[in-house]
């Protein structure tokens, strides 16, 4: 892949040396490079799995580390008995509820602070101080406040994503070009129109960065929330497996966490591709 780039620059930079008449530049763009890109992305993952398989069967990873094949088998068993679906469903519901609250609060606070100076003056200081608190340290407090049931778990998942989203929404709005706002105003755009047509689209790239971070923190909080006092969820599955020394099941759960992270990233990428189609950033060489 990189060789074609090299060839092109060679031709472009030293036409006199090659001296073979008119230069031939192959147009970049939607050729085989783009079709191969998803495959190329998979190569990294495949390499990790191969290393893992080789490492496990050669015994480099210790005798208790299962190989990918064993993990797949364990996952098959869990799926066959319906356990995996059940626990995954419970976990996904927790994350969905927590994120729904956390993202909504982060977005609303960020919008308020970004759009109204008064709101920024009131909200920003408390949020900045709370932000420095590792929210996972709140577990005991939340158990005292909300009990050991679902509420404290959802509260823990909800609190973390608020901060990155708030920060990025606020900074995204602050980063919108004042000249565009002025030009829109001179076009007679209403206050609501200004927010919908100018400020939010302008802040969107930064907001999506915040979304990415917020979703990551959501998953992290799920892991911690399910460590204690649960009887369902993938976290419980892992704790339970630890009791019975089922390292293969522990690895199944780890792989699930990894896959959830991967899907989250793909999801945000999809939004970015659709919503930021107007942008042209540096995409790497």
């Amino acid at each position: 892949m990189s060789s074609s780039v090299l060839v092109r620059t060679d031709v472009a930079s030293a036409p006199a040396v090659t001296g073979t008449g008119p230069e031939r530049h192959r147009p970049p763009g939607p050729g085989w490079r783009q079709r191969v890109a998803p495959l190329r992305r998979l190569t990294g993952l495949v390499a990790v799995f191969l290393l893992w398989q080789v490492g496990a069967s050669a015994g480099w990873l210790g005798s208790t580390t299962p190989s990918p094949a064993e993990v797949v088998n364990a996952a098959g068993e869990l799926i066959g008995s319906g356990e995996l679906q059940h626990h995954l469903g419970v976990s996904l519901a927790r994350v969905a509820k927590g994120l729904a609250i956390g993202l909504a609060v982060g977005l609303v606070l960020g919008l308020a602070a970004g759009l109204l100076r008064l709101a920024e003056d009131v909200i920003d200081a408390p949020i900045q101080s709370l932000r420095m608190l590792p929210h996972l340290a709140l577990v005991p407090v939340f158990i005292i406040w909300f009990g050991i049931g679902e509420t404290s778990k959802i509260a823990l998942i909800a609190i973390g994503p608020i901060f990155p989203l708030y920060l990025n929404v606020l900074h995204g709005i602050r980063g919108v070009d004042e000249r565009l706002v002025e030009s829109a105003r001179s076009c007679g755009v209403t206050r609501l129109g200004l927010i919908l047509r100018v400020i939010l689209p302008g802040a969107l790239p930064q907001i999506l960065v915040g979304l990415r971070q917020a979703l990551g923190i959501g998953w992290l909080s799920l892991v911690v929330a399910e460590q204690t006092a649960t009887t369902a969820g993938v976290g419980f599955l892992m704790n339970d497996a630890r009791e019975f020394l089922r390292t293969d099941v522990i690895f199944v759960v780890l792989v699930i966490y990894a896959l959830l992270g991967l899907f989250t990233d793909l999801f945000v990428r999809l939004i970015e591709r659709r919503a930021l189609a107007w942008r042209r950033g540096f995409t790497g060489e």
């Binding site: 565009l180 030009s183 829109a184 001179s186 755009v189 209403t190 047509r197 942008r279 042209r280």
Partner: protein, 237 residues
């Protein structure tokens, strides 16, 4: 009928007086060019007339239906070209109105393009279409061709001349380009020391040839008013 009437316009930036009681009248359908040395307050006066500068004081009588074209195109990069044209408008058939305005500037084919795919001249023409679609009584042009290359600038000037002839809004054109002012305007004003110091009536019929003898005289006088010494003016003085 007077479209624009400005009396005693004042503006101070950090203790520096930029406008010190400028007065300005623009008649209905009149094309006025405003010239001045760099930093003389041309754009400040235009922004005050546009109502964009809350720090400016004075008496401003300005029509409500007005539109501005800035030096930079200031199109929303996240909106398609036609959406940019109708920004802030409501009502039915917005796309049709946008297309008609874009046709006038010769860009109907780019209606669905993203602004970043346009050249500098094309972007500026879209900005003109965005102003036109509002059928303004007053069109404010803040050095709209300043960032264009020489050839594109000449085409853009011809386009503005044509659009003005077709629609006849009152125009206030801020520029530092004497030729541009003489090619387009009915009157050229020179801003100096915070007020309108000199006025030149460009009494040459359109379309104007650049080498019209009257224009050459006016050009020399304007340059002298702007404090530029040309070889011609040295010869005559």
């Amino acid at each position: 009928m007077t479209e624009v009437k400005v009396r005693d316009a004042r503006r101070t930036f950090d203790g520096r007086d930029v406008l010190t009681g400028a007065e300005l009248d623009i008649a209905d359908g009149e094309f006025v060019a405003l010239l001045g040395a760099s930093g003389s307050g041309k754009s400040t006066l235009l922004r005050a007339v546009a109502g964009l500068d809350r720090g400016a004081t004075g008496e401003f009588t300005v029509p409500d239906r007005r539109a501005i074209v800035f030096q930079e195109h200031r199109l929303m990069p996240w909106s398609r070209v036609w959406r940019n044209v109708t920004l802030g408008l409501s009502g039915s058939d917005l796309r049709g109105r946008a297309l008609r305005a874009l046709t006038e500037v010769g860009l109907a084919a780019r209606a669905d393009a993203w602004p970043r795919t346009l050249s500098g001249g094309e972007s500026q023409r879209v900005a003109l279409a965005r102003a036109l679609v509002r059928t303004p009584e007053l069109l404010l042009l803040d050095e709209p061709f300043g960032a264009l290359d020489a050839l594109t600038r000449i085409r853009a000037q011809a386009l503005v001349a044509k659009l003005w002839a077709d629609h006849r809004p009152a125009v206030l054109l801020v520029t530092h380009d004497v030729e541009e002012a003489l090619r387009l305007a009915d009157r050229a004003l020179v801003l100096r020391d915070g007020r309108i110091a000199e006025e030149f009536v460009v009494d040459v019929p359109r379309p104007r040839e650049v080498d019209h003898p009257r224009l050459l005289t006016l050009r020399r006088d304007l340059l002298r008013a702007l404090g530029v010494k040309t070889s011609e003016s040295e010869e005559t003085s």
